[in-house]
């Protein structure tokens, strides 16, 4: 029963949602509407669950003093600081428990939550993403080596696309006469992206879609049960 009930619910819900796509009339359409609303409500609770999980995992690492536990502590302090500033003085135009914090706003220019978001979180987040450029440069030097025909082809293509997608590529071959315009780097880069890459992307998308249909059917029919978790 413990396994049969979830399998039955999964099958019925899947059957109703699929049916409503083909029969957009009552009762399928109205049940589907209800299920969509349920999904949005459950998604909201999933965020709370995620936050609780984050707190639990980080707190345990700090408590057990695992390796680099100090970083987890910083994460927890940052989390609670943002929550506290949001609850006490609100965000944007919405007031918090202690009002709008006019005194602090006159000092910082904005509410504390916005101040931290604009001046700390935003820059840290952008920095993390920007660091990728340095690792890509280092990896390109070490790993992008011609070893075979395929790697040679890959490198030539990558260099053309990289140059073609920059402003410098435009200048490098901008002098070409109109009859040789097809050799203009941005044009070659566009050709590579629009045809060979696009064709490969379509193949990947169609394969992935077929895979999703297959695995969805396996879940609906109760063949695939790993989502129920282990044990009895």
């Amino acid at each position: 029963m413990k396994r049969f009930l979830p399998l039955l619910v999964t099958f019925l819900v899947g059957f109703i949602v699929i049916s409503s796509e083909f029969i957009p009339h009552k009762p399928f359409s109205s049940i589907n509407e209800g299920l969509e609303n349920w999904f949005m409500i459950i998604s909201g609770f999933a965020i709370i669950l995620g936050q609780l999980s984050l707190l639990k995992v980080n707190s345990m690492k700090v408590h057990d003093k695992t390796e680099n536990w100090q970083y987890y502590l910083v994460g927890l302090i940052s989390f609670w600081a943002m929550v506290a500033f949001g609850i006490f003085w609100g965000t944007q135009d919405a007031a918090g428990l202690l009002g709008n914090g006019d005194g602090i706003v006159s000092w910082l220019g904005v509410k504390p939550f916005e101040y931290l978001f604009n001046n700390v979180y935003q820059h840290l987040s952008s920095t993390m993403f920007a660091l990728l450029a340095f690792f890509i440069a280092s990896a390109a030097y070490r790993a992008f080596i011609i070893r075979s025909f395929e790697s040679n082809l890959l490198m030539i293509t990558a260099v053309i696309v990289m140059l073609g997608r920059t402003s410098i590529g435009t200048y490098l071959t901008g002098w070409l006469p109109p009859e040789w315009r097809w050799l203009h780097l941005p044009n070659i880069a566009d050709f590579i992206v629009n045809f060979p890459t696009n064709a490969a992307q379509r193949a990947i998308m169609i394969s992935a879609a077929l895979g999703i249909v297959g695995s969805s059917l396996r879940i609906l029919l109760g063949i695939e049960r790993s989502y129920l978790g282990g044990g009895d």
């Binding site: 509407e33 978001f117 030097y141 140059l163 997608r165 410098i168």
Partner: protein, 276 residues
């Protein structure tokens, strides 16, 4: 140091840092060639009538701010130039703040634009594709109030907006899931609303199959270059155009590093061969 010894990665980092920083301090003024994809997005906004209501979905967070925020600003500016009304929504939690920042920046150029009349921020909603589908039935059910808590009925520009039928086009600025792909599948494929968007450069190739005869996507802005192309079409030089100088130098440096790496390996192989 022998010729075959790899260059210390710290030198690579330092060279790249200098190469990226200098063009940001001293702009080179390089021009981007406008692609057909950017022209399609521009045409969609340009040909949409005045007073139309449109949706811009902010489906990203500060991590991809550099690539997607210039697109948001350029698109808002273009839409306001054409007197279109903008509904901002967010499928990512921090998209709400990104939208507010973009509006605040463009408001400096268009101080006459009023909140609730020319634009509004509906806020963040979980659910991804299901939320997009639900907006096709009733916008009010999904967003009963804006992000400040103002009820739907009290926002003048939403008076006649019930679902996608009253929306001229949707633009999703997307850094992943949920985002542009879900808008194509739900908003366009189910409700036939015109969809366009902008993505990070790394995910751009994945969206190209949607630009087809069925117009699943009306053009696409890909990464910083896409944003710079849109700025060029608008005749402005914003943060994307300046950023393209730095990106161009970074690309050239990476190509130089690739060549250096290959020369190193070639020399290594040659010396091994000679020893034998």
């Amino acid at each position: 140091m022998s010729n075959s010894k790899p260059l210390d990665r710290r030198y690579i980092f330092l060279i790249l840092l200098v190469g990226v920083t200098l063009p940001l301090i001293f702009p080179l003024g390089l021009k981007s060639e406008v692609s057909d994809l950017a022209r399609q997005v521009y045409k969609l906004v340009e040909e949409t009538p005045t007073n139309s209501t449109i949706i811009i979905s902010f489906d990203y967070d500060p991590a991809t701010n550099t690539e997607l925020q210039p697109m948001a600003k350029a698109l808002i500016e273009h839409a306001w130039k054409k007197d279109q009304r903008i509904i901002a929504i967010a499928l990512w939690p921090q998209g709400v703040q990104m939208a507010e920042q973009a509006f605040a920046d463009i408001m400096k150029k268009y101080p006459d634009k009023k909140y609730g009349i020319d634009y509004m921020n509906a806020g963040y909603k979980t659910g991804g594709m299901v939320t997009i589908q639900a907006m096709g039935r009733s916008f009010k059910e999904v967003f009963p109030s804006d992000f400040k808590g103002t009820p739907y009925e009290e926002i003048p520009m939403l008076k006649n907006v019930r679902n996608y039928n009253q929306i001229s086009y949707v633009i999703s600025l997307s850094a992943g899931d949920p985002g542009l792909k879900q808008y194509v599948m739900a908003a366009h494929d189910m409700y036939r609303v015109k969809v366009s968007g902008g993505t990070t450069a790394v995910s751009t190739p994945g969206f190209l199959p949607y630009i087809n005869d069925q117009h699943q996507l009306y053009g696409l802005l890909g990464g910083l270059k896409g944003a710079a192309e849109y700025e060029a079409l608008l005749g402005i030089r914003g943060t994307a155009s300046n950023g393209m100088d730095a990106q161009s130098v970074a690309h050239v440096l990476i190509i130089v590093f690739i060549i250096m790496g290959n020369i190193r390996v070639y020399k290594q192989k040659k010396s091994k061969h000679e020893k034998k």
